[in-house]
């Protein structure tokens, strides 16, 4: 979208998205008290948070109105960096736990 141009959709769209985000935030609280614990709960909460962030980026940060090349650049760059980071974190996890090497002794 060119600079200074009005964003697509009116204030009505913004309010609907705002209510959606509030609803999703409420859903997270419900999930947290649903009785589930551990990895299952963590995975559900993370998926809900990703959906919430995706909606906010598209509608609040107006990425959906930007050029496709910018959207692809941001998505690929961000996801690559976040994914590449996990390559190193797994080793940190091994150091914290002292596994698998300490279990050999």
């Amino acid at each position: 979208m060119s600079s200074g141009e009005q964003h697509r959709g009116g204030l009505g769209t913004d309010v609907v998205v705002y209510l959606c985000l509030l609803g999703i935030a409420g859903l997270q609280i419900v999930l947290a008290y649903s009785g589930n614990e551990g990895r299952g709960l963590a995975a559900r909460l993370l998926v809900v948070a990703i959906i919430q962030a995706f909606i906010a980026v598209l509608f609040f940060m107006h990425l959906r109105a930007e050029r496709r090349s910018l959207v692809v650049f941001i998505a690929v760059f961000t996801l690559f960096v976040l994914a590449a980071m996990q390559y190193g974190w797994t080793d940190s996890f091994r150091i914290i736990n002292g596994v698998p090497f300490t279990r050999l002794h």
Partner: protein
């Protein structure tokens, strides 16, 4: 080649190129900052997750009242401040400087209230005995991890409040334009998005049952 480019020995050729992705350079700079900041928060949150997962006696100190209720109010304020920021951006794009200033100050006020509530939450935990490397409930790493994640976010909110106020006043004074308001808005929405990950990972996975 123009005379100016000839004078510059051809190096001026870039001056006539279109801006990357057809957006203003400062908006692209903000997107690049947001990407790098997303990596920073990603690293901090993943580190928190790994640490929590690897520590058997990780404390779960957050009771529904007051902690989770406080978090719910903070979330409501932050998401609402994103809406007020959108209203501000629309006003700025319509050229209504007074309305834009009003809404950006409302947004900044929301951020300030969020920061105060967050500091109150911190003080409450400190009162209960949480320190950087010790607490009454379990692993001493909890304090360092909790204060690092929430502190980094609180720092972003505080900087955002200052930035919103300064940009709003300068826009009203005619020194900044609607693009500057929109770019500041991008930063504010990003701070909001980060909070969407902090709440489940830090608070909701450590509720007292």
């Amino acid at each position: 080649m123009s005379e100016a480019n000839l004078t510059l020995g051809g190096h001026g050729a870039g001056l006539s190129e279109a801006s990357p992705f057809s957006i203003p350079a400062k908006k692209l700079a903000m997107w690049l900052f947001i990407i790098s900041d997303a990596a920073t928060f990603g690293a901090v949150l993943v580190a928190y997750g790994f640490l929590r997962n690897a520590t058997p006696n990780w404390p779960a100190p957050f009771k529904f009242s007051p902690s989770i209720l406080n978090v719910m109010v903070m979330t409501f304020i932050l998401i609402s401040s994103s809406l007020t920021m959108l209203i501000c951006v629309r006003a700025a794009q319509a050229g209504d400087r007074a309305k834009a200033l009003r809404w950006i100050l409302i947004t900044a006020a929301g951020g300030a209230i969020f920061a105060l509530l967050h500091i109150r939450e911190w003080l409450s935990l400190i009162d209960e005995g949480v320190r950087l490397f010790q607490n009454p409930w379990g692993s001493g790493l909890f304090g360092a991890a909790f204060f690092s994640v929430t502190g980094l976010h609180l720092l972003h909110v505080s900087v955002g409040v200052v930035a919103l106020t300064v940009v709003g006043l300068r826009y009203k004074g005619g020194r900044y334009n609607a693009d500057d308001i929109e770019i500041t808005g991008l930063y504010w929405h990003f701070v909001d998005i980060v909070w969407m990950f902090v709440v489940p990972l830090v608070y909701l996975l450590s509720i007292a049952r």
